[in-house]
Subunit: 322 residues, 2 copies
């Protein structure tokens, strides 16, 4: 893919203004941890249950009239699909989502319910990248990547502009440290652009902490072969993008890994203390905090990035104590 | 108890102003049902997980300096206890909460963590009303009832002022119908005062629908002997108060009952669609909507009144499909 431009702070501000015109701010909750007020930005309370709606809106609204008629193509079985479908419907654009044939019926139905066309593929024998590229070419539609795109990164960053405004309004310290779940790094890179004075810490599940290793090494390192199973379906990215890595690396961002048990504990804490449903991948930053891997200090901002759970798996987590 | 005064709309407005000064608005979510935008007021996202914080704040701030030094007494094993403890701590006042000896440890700990003194009693042999009255007398402290009090009713009504403002800001219809969970009727009566142009529908669990029957009869009818078990611990009030009944009756409010299965379905829907943890009693208005007992029309406002769940019981609800 040709990188047309780098994402910028001005782009994040533009995205924030566009998003403020159509979506209410997601709530910012303040909870005292060891007596210090810590802020939680609830992106899980977006209409599609995740921050992905931001990048999708910024990307799709940047298309001109002709491109809007031809529509967009995306591949994702999860939150990005919902974000693109939501934005496309709002703009009256066609959207094709490439999803695995064995995707959970609930995700398929949600995508169809938002008016998107769904093309299914066989995970074992077909490549979703190839199918999406083929569809985009045939329809002259724009392919919307889930993180490797300057508009997507800028759009996700709008969450940081919102959080900053909310912290100022609540008379709290400006964000000094942002702790953020990381798959491909789109949200983390966007927040880094949005909040130039804050320290950025990305959090990944153990064994999937390729962004952490990449930031340490100074170059992109993919996830190793046979990574361990993780409940974080939203964070299973095999390799981050030069765009997101570049932003985070220049900013001196660092990474942390959390265990599956720490993630489950964070999901239980969010339900009990914040009364929110947070999906495993959305809870990793909170997990790092609760596990004592983050120093609690004024200006600490924790991102809860998504709340789309499988009901049975979520019930099992809430019902267990491990 | 001597009723000193009736609750008023001016009192609700006063409460709303006082609460706006210390608490952020709870989010108002809009979700389309049969294509019509329906508003959900998420009182479950209050710091203590329920609207009770409103009435407690309005009541406690109305006390003068001397009364503040002597403190307050309340009896409740649930959300009202948390609300009173929260407000007392914020005002630096002593608070004694009378709780059953067999109350869930998590509720006891939460109340203690907020700095309240807890006096325990034996449900089988002692009367919490008598213990609380005795404590209040001995300490010359003010007894704070959970609904039978003009300040409490006015305070709860502030949720309606907020929702109205939020619906106007979102360019939605003014509230035409408010559907609200009902235990003693404090929240419902407050909303009736806050929103004089809206139809008020109170919702109770089957067998505990004494407010519904009272409104139909034109006089207060208590819950019958041996009411069926219900998961709605927050709505198990044996008899409503003349204060709340009077407000609701004059307004022509009506009532509905929902089944335990309908309540569980509403809890699952709230988790899946709104990504929120809602307790059984907090979900009864939503249950009435989803069960088709409420006509969907513009200006419909559903109150989600609380989110304090027992983790194991909640996990069982999410994991089941009945």
């Amino acid at each position: 893919m040709t990188i047309l431009r780098r994402p910028t702070r001005a782009g994040v501000r533009d995205a924030a203004a566009k998003i403020a015109a159509i979506l209410p701010q997601t709530p910012l909750f303040v909870s005292k941890i060891h007596g210090v007020p810590v802020c939680f930005k609830a992106e899980s309370l977006q209409p599609v249950g995740a921050f992905k709606i931001r990048g999708a809106w910024h990307r799709l609204t940047a298309l001109d009239g002709e491109a809007r008629e031809r529509g967009v193509v995306a591949f994702s079985s999860g939150n990005h699909a919902q974000g693109v479908a939501w934005a496309a419907r709002k703009l009256g654009m066609p959207a094709v989502i490439v999803m695995p044939a064995d995707a959970p019926p609930v995700k398929l139905e949600a995508t169809l319910a938002m008016g998107a066309e769904v093309v299914r593929y066989d995970r074992a024998t077909e490549s979703r990248e190839k199918i999406a590229a083929h569809l985009a070419h045939a329809r002259r539609a724009v392919l919307v990547p889930s993180f490797d795109d300057p508009w997507i990164i800028e759009g996700q960053g709008s969450a940081g502009i919102e959080a900053m405004t909310q912290m100022v309004e609540a008379k709290l310290a400006d964000p000094t440290q942002v702790v953020v779940p990381c798959g491909g790094g789109g949200l983390a890179a966007g927040l880094a652009l949005a909040l130039p004075d804050a320290e950025i810490v990305v959090v990944e599940p153990e064994g999937w902490d390729d962004m952490r290793r990449s930031l340490e090494a100074g170059w992109i390192e993919p996830v190793g072969d046979n990574p361990p199973p993780t409940a974080c379906d939203a964070l299973q990215t095999k390799e981050v993008s030069p765009l997101t890595f570049d932003v985070l690396s220049r900013r001196g961002a660092t990474g942390l890994a959390v265990s599956e048990a720490e993630i489950r504990e964070a999901q239980r804490w969010a339900a009990a203390k914040l009364r929110m449903v947070v999906e495993p991948g959305g809870a990793v930053a909170l997990a790092a905090l609760l596990a004592g891997k983050i120093e609690v200090k004024p200006g600490l901002l924790i991102i809860l990035s998504g709340g789309n759970v499988d009901p049975q798996a979520y019930a099992a987590v809430l019902g267990s104590k491990d």
